[in-house]
């Protein structure tokens, strides 16, 4: 059905895939100009790859440097004098520790809630015969191209009494329509025989989902769990809109406050001494980034596959 196709991820007009033949492939590039291009291309791409990483490496080096070095040396990837003062300063900051713990907790709970809601909706929708399936899919696709906007959503969150609660960071974005459709498509192409045999063995729908479908879909679910987790961790707009109480701030809000202000007082940070003005910015950026970078290898292993698997079938 047309409405269930995922436009962005559908390689349209795909010709039949052929196994590439290394021998002929080698032959056709082995001219002097071809080899020159290869060399330039490789150098260029390595440079692009390094550019993607360089700003982060600079900030990592800067987070271990002294205040003096940060204000006198414009660029370095290895500090002359190694110090952990910046990290010591943020760790002693009650505002930072609170924001960090809050963000970890919200991310964990939020990811669980969002993934559960998405999977629970995706599984029934993967059954072609489900009554009302077409209508629901149409609504889901419609919400992808049209949204009422920031203010009406804000008013709903307010109406539901979610302002100044952490649920406001989790529920309004609980089901991502793209993720829902990809997971649904993935469920749809699982072998039906397994589910049917489980049914004959007397399994309940929820049991089938839990014991048959979910174990078969682990890579895909893991990928989307990480997408949700990164989404919550990185979210700046929701706390900006929905949390007025500074004590409830998440790490991204804290990071913004630290890097946007020229100097922070001891009171801002909840520390006894005023923090190092520059170093602390470097350290907070690193702390806000590291968890995402730690999750990245797991994400990377699956996402290309996970994203494409679900999207091929309509």
């Amino acid at each position: 059905m047309a409405t269930t196709q995922l436009p962005a991820l559908q390689p349209a007009g795909r010709p039949p895939r052929r196994a590439s033949r290394p021998s002929t492939q080698h032959q056709r590039f082995n001219t002097p100009a071809g080899r020159a291009f290869d060399v330039v291309n490789v150098v260029l791409l390595v440079a692009v790859g390094l550019l993607a990483l360089l700003p982060f490496l600079y900030v990592l080096a800067g987070s271990f440097a002294t205040e003096l070095e940060l204000t006198t040396r414009p660029f370095f990837l290895w500090p002359h004098e190694f110090t952990t003062d910046s990290y010591a300063s943020i760790l002693s900051s009650t505002a930072f520790v609170r924001a960090f713990v809050t963000t970890v907790a919200v991310t964990l709970v939020g990811t669980l809630v969002q993934l559960a809601l998405t999977a629970l909706m995706a599984y029934p929708l993967s059954k072609v015969e489900l009554p009302g399936r077409r209508t629901i899919m149409t609504v889901v696709v419609f919400t992808m191209v049209f949204s009422a906007g920031m203010i009406p959503t804000f008013l709903v969150v307010k109406e539901l009494g979610l302002l100044d609660t952490y649920w406001a960071l989790i529920l309004p974005a609980a089901i991502n329509p793209f993720s829902l459709i990809i997971i649904k498509n993935f469920f749809q192409q699982l072998p039906q025989e397994l589910e049917e045999s489980a049914k004959i063995d007397g399994a309940h729908e929820l049991q089938i989902l839990r014991h048959v479908v979910v174990p078969l879909s682990k890579p895909v679910l893991a990928t989307f769990a990480l997408f949700y987790a990164v989404g919550i961790w990185n979210d700046y707009m929701s706390p900006l809109l929905y949390l007025n109480d500074q004590d409830m701030w998440t790490l991204q809000m804290f990071l913004r406050q630290v890097t946007a202000s020229a100097s922070l007082s001891a009171q801002d940070m909840g520390t006894e001494l005023p923090p190092p003005a520059q170093g602390i910015k470097f350290a907070v950026v690193i702390v806000a980034t590291i968890p995402v970078l730690l999750a990245y290898p797991f994400l990377q292993k699956h996402f290309a596959k996970g994203m494409l698997i679900g999207s091929v079938k309509g």
Binding site: V42, I151, H204, V285, Y296, Q300
Partner: protein, 324 residues
């Protein structure tokens, strides 16, 4: 074990004789048969109703003078008053200009760069190298805008940042790049390229992987060079993908990305930094003009909807595969 199945069946009404079957009845039987699956979906449906559909109903305050005390229903209708106010507001041309310039930069600079990067990656024969570069260029996509903007602030810090001191070396003067309105758009573009070019290649690489290899072999026999093969085989093969991505991009023209622009704007660069998304926030959330800002947001959403269907229609007119 079969007992469980029987218990399940016991709940459903006995199937009526085929002759007596009427449509609503059959539909109801189906609902009963799928009741557990439907029940399973209930939280999800509730989510869509609460957080996706209810705001659409609430968007009617764009045509009302919304007073929180009176509620959405109780507030008085004012028709297109807020829309007229917005379109005749001197802010409107400025917002439209800023939004379109930023969208144009991303459409005409960042988007082609994505395709170029995908094509270059596709030419790499050493798969280890290809995978490594891919791994590296995807990373920025996962960093938050707060982190990207903070990185920018550190790299362009007045006098001390690596990039600001580098650029100062050319001009000989110390510039505050983050506050200078002339530097706002270049910086936004730079961030967009850094953050999204690598990730954007995924979809094109997938399309490139499925190009028929025999066409290349035939082209080599015909004496086609590398450039000719790219121009005559590769690009036509990924054209459907490019068009789909273009349609989606066009629909996003008025969505400049709230977080990036909001985090990059400050008191000194407002003239070039204000776009529809941030304007909705400032007028709606900060000044409490709910109805007016909803009207602004709604105009934006409707234009986006028209654009996406319009380009889709155009693509089909020219015999290309659209997305709907």
């Amino acid at each position: 074990m079969t007992a469980v199945v029987d218990v399940e069946r016991a709940g459903t009404p006995a199937p009526p004789a085929p002759a007596a079957v009427r449509r609503p009845r059959r539909r109801w039987a189906k609902v009963v048969r799928f009741r557990w699956l439907l029940l399973m979906m209930l939280p999800g449906i509730l989510y869509f109703l609460l957080f996706r559909i209810w705001p659409m109903w609430g968007a009617q305050i764009a045509f009302k003078n919304y007073v929180p005390f009176l509620g959405i229903q109780g507030s008085e209708w004012v028709g297109f008053h807020h829309f007229q106010e917005f379109f005749s507001n001197p802010d409107f041309p400025r917002l439209l200009g800023n939004t379109l310039i930023l969208a144009g930069l991303s459409l005409f600079v960042a988007f082609p760069l994505t395709i170029v990067l995908a094509l270059l990656l596709n030419e790499v024969r050493l798969s280890v190298l290809k995978r490594t570069v891919q791994t590296l260029v995807y990373i920025p996509h996962f960093l938050s805008w707060t982190v990207v903007v903070s990185l920018t602030a550190l790299l362009f810090a007045i006098g001390t940042g690596p990039l600001s001191s580098f650029l100062d070396g050319f001009t000989g003067t110390e510039t505050n790049y983050l506050a200078d309105p002339d530097w706002f758009r270049p910086l936004i573009l730079l961030q967009t390229i850094w953050k999204s070019t690598g990730w954007g290649t995924i979809i094109f690489l997938a399309a490139l992987a499925s190009v028929d290899q025999e066409q290349y072999e035939a082209a080599v026999i015909d004496g086609a060079g590398r450039w000719q093969r790219t121009w005559h085989i590769t690009l036509p093969a990924i054209r459907p993908t490019i068009i789909v991505m273009l349609i989606l991009q066009t629909g996003e023209i008025l969505n400049t990305g709230f977080e990036q622009i909001y985090l990059m704007s400050n008191a000194l660069n407002r003239t070039v930094a204000d776009v529809f998304d941030t304007y909705v926030y400032f007028t709606g959330i900060q000044q409490g003009a709910y109805s007016y800002s909803t009207a602004v947001g709604l105009s934006k959403a409707i234009v986006g909807l028209v654009l996406i269907f319009g380009t889709n229609w155009l693509a089909k007119r020219f015999n290309q595969q659209g997305i709907f």
